[in-house]
């Protein structure tokens, strides 16, 4: 009981405190993770029925939000993934894709999940994405929301119950309902759906089990975790500070390193030696192709150079292309430190060497050449840009430069 409460407090405020306390929970084994609900689950207890009613309203608001990415093919692809790793509730769960450039995904207690577009940007393949979805499914299959709610009430943890109650009531009163991105920014949702570390460990173990059952490499979850840790560290280092807990659901959990270690061990438990696992990279890239440029754009323009660089380098492990090179140059242009103009200029020059360089790469290549006093070459680049994007909104400005 003491441990549980301390874990909750750690989740609420102090990563450092949790680390220094040296709380060493035993790893939860994937084999111990049986789903607690079956297909078509509906609540029967009064408190849970109430929670479901509130969440029904949240989902209704959310499904009409103009911040959702509505691309039908992509949404049905995501729904298909939850069908693969959703266990007994595979047919009951719903998935929504929100255009928010952050690494995050949230499972609501009634079985709908919101995937942030920033998550799709960061995944190298289908197995990694399936791992995150499997983790979220784990929260639903293990009834985490209602378990945590009841756990807190029995401990009469007044503040925690108040915080939770305020969140639920807020939904009813329309305080946060439907205002999806505000949720993400204000951390409201994180205070509502921050599970204690035991429940997170359960979702990890359950996720690994679901992932393996669906035929994905179980280690994909640990890989994702490793990518996130590197990204947070690099981002913080650029700004000369320590990694903060950020607003990512994953980042708020205590001790990411120990969690990653547990994920690796769990993956080993369920990995079948000699089996060849398909990471689904081809399918994944095809599914996100229509929005990949947009995902990169949304991230890079936030001018968080450490995070953006880590993301692009991670994606480039599978091979550089014109799109990645272009956005790498964009990072330097926006970072705007001494010498970055030269770095960006050579980045754009490299990007246009690829057949798949976007039109914008030629435009910026032109801008950099022009600033370097290479007017004739700049005109060639601008002309190429206009040939590729004759109706570009800035075409009138660029045409003037050609005169």
């Amino acid at each position: 009981m003491m441990l549980s409460r301390r874990a909750l407090l750690a989740g609420g405020g102090g990563l450092a405190a949790a680390l220094s306390a040296g709380v060493a929970d035993a790893r939860i084994l994937p084999s111990a993770m049986e789903p607690l609900i079956g297909p078509g689950y509906k609540p029967t207890d009064r408190d849970e029925i109430g929670l479901w009613q509130q969440m029904g309203r949240v989902e209704e608001e959310l499904s009409g939000s103009n911040l959702l990415i509505k691309d039908p093919a992509l949404n049905s692809y995501l729904q298909g993934l939850i069908g693969k790793v959703g266990g007994p509730a595979a047919k009951d769960m719903r998935i929504y894709l929100a255009r928010i450039p952050e690494f995050n995904a949230v499972m609501f207690p009634t079985g709908f999940t919101v995937i942030f577009s920033g998550l799709l940007l960061r995944m190298r393949n289908e197995a990694q994405l399936a791992g995150v979805i499997a983790h979220e499914s784990g929260h639903f299959l293990r009834k985490h929301q209602i378990r945590q709610w009841r756990d807190m009430r029995t401990k009469t943890d007044v503040f925690a119950v108040l915080a939770m109650g305020a969140g639920v009531a807020g939904g009813a009163a329309g305080v946060y309902t439907g205002d999806l991105a505000r949720l993400a920014e204000l951390g409201t949702i994180l205070s509502l759906f921050r599970y204690n570390r035991t429940l997170e460990a359960e979702a990890d173990a359950m996720g690994v089990r679901l992932l393996a059952a669906a035929g994905y490499a179980p280690n994909a979850m640990a890989e994702t975790w490793d990518q996130l840790i590197r990204e947070l560290d690099t981002s913080a280092k650029y700004r000369r500070k320590k990694r903060d807990r950020g607003y990512s659901l994953f980042a708020t959990h205590p001790a990411p390193e120990s969690r990653m270690a547990d994920l690796r061990l769990s993956a080993r438990d369920v990995t079948v030696p000699g089996r060849v696992y398909d990471d689904g990279r081809g399918r994944y890239l095809q599914a996100i192709a229509p929005i990949r440029a947009m995902l990169l754009d949304d991230q890079v323009k936030l001018n968080d150079p450490g995070a953006s660089q880590t993301i692009i380098e991670t994606l480039a492990i599978d091979g550089w292309n014109g799109l990645l090179r272009f956005h790498e140059a964009e990072i330097w242009r926006l970072r705007n430190r001494a010498g970055d103009d030269t770095r960006a200029a050579s980045g754009y020059a490299a990007a246009v060497g690829y057949g798949d360089a976007p039109p914008d790469a030629w435009r910026w290549h032109g801008v950099m050449l022009q600033k370097a006093g290479r007017a004739a070459e700049a005109k060639v680049a601008y002309s190429r840009y206009l040939a590729m994007a004759p109706n570009a909104p800035d075409a009138p400005y660029i045409r003037q430069l050609l005169q």
Binding site: I100, L180, E185, R239, L334, P393
Partner: protein
């Protein structure tokens, strides 16, 4: 959540959990003061404009944003419409106050920036500080500003409050310093309603040396 440069900072402070928060700089909203329909100095005093109607100036006395080069006006409140001035901003400076430790930052202005770079800086401002989710450039074309060759930048943006807004900025880099006027308002009504008044202000702007 968003709006004119000053409003946005204040809003970020009002919600301490906000990812774009500035970490305790400043104190909050100030009041408004009346701008009459006659010539008035704006920003650092280097630009004079002559509005054709009255506006409300967002007070900088209480504002958290003490950048002298920046000034904000509004007609109906800054979440519906706002008019911002950037006057004589030097290279190496920012159009907004922000913590050096913030992960996401509005890029600094450089005196050799071209129009596409200035507009990209504005776009990052919206994405980093104003909660913009979707930003679309509608147009970038050459336009004289205060008698100097400059640009006109038109754009739409969808923000976290699920409202589409539209903006127009007219500006120029003169002797390495940035000057611009920027109108921003809800796309469904307030932008168009304020556009003639914005044009009057932008066309009346003159440099005062």
């Amino acid at each position: 959540m968003r709006r004119s440069i000053i409003f946005v900072v204040a809003a970020a402070l009002a919600f301490p959990g906000c990812g774009t928060g500035l970490g305790g700089e400043g104190i909050g909203f100030g009041g408004y003061s009346l701008i009459r329909a006659r010539s008035v100095e704006v920003g650092d005093g280097s630009v004079v404009v002559t509005p054709t109607r009255e506006w409300n100036r967002v007070s900088s006395t209480w504002s958290i944003d003490d950048i002298r080069a920046v000034e904000d006006w509004t007609l109906n409140g800054s979440s519906l419409d706002s008019l911002s001035f950037v006057t004589g901003l030097k290279g190496g400076r920012y159009i907004i106050r922000q913590s050096k430790r913030a992960a996401q930052q509005v890029p600094k202005f450089r005196s050799d920036m071209t129009a596409p770079e200035v507009t990209a800086m504005l776009e990052s401002f919206y994405r980093v500080k104003a909660g913009t989710i979707d930003f679309r450039t509608i147009g970038l074309s050459p336009r004289q500003f205060m008698g100097y060759p400059g640009f006109q930048f038109d754009f739409d943006h969808l923000d976290t409050d699920e409202v589409w807004r539209r903006g127009r900025s007219v500006g120029a880099v003169i002797d390495g310093r940035l000057y611009l006027v920027l109108l921003d308002g809800t796309r469904s009504h307030y932008f168009n309603a304020a556009l003639p008044d914005f044009e009057a202000v932008a066309n009346s702007a003159r440099l005062q040396r």
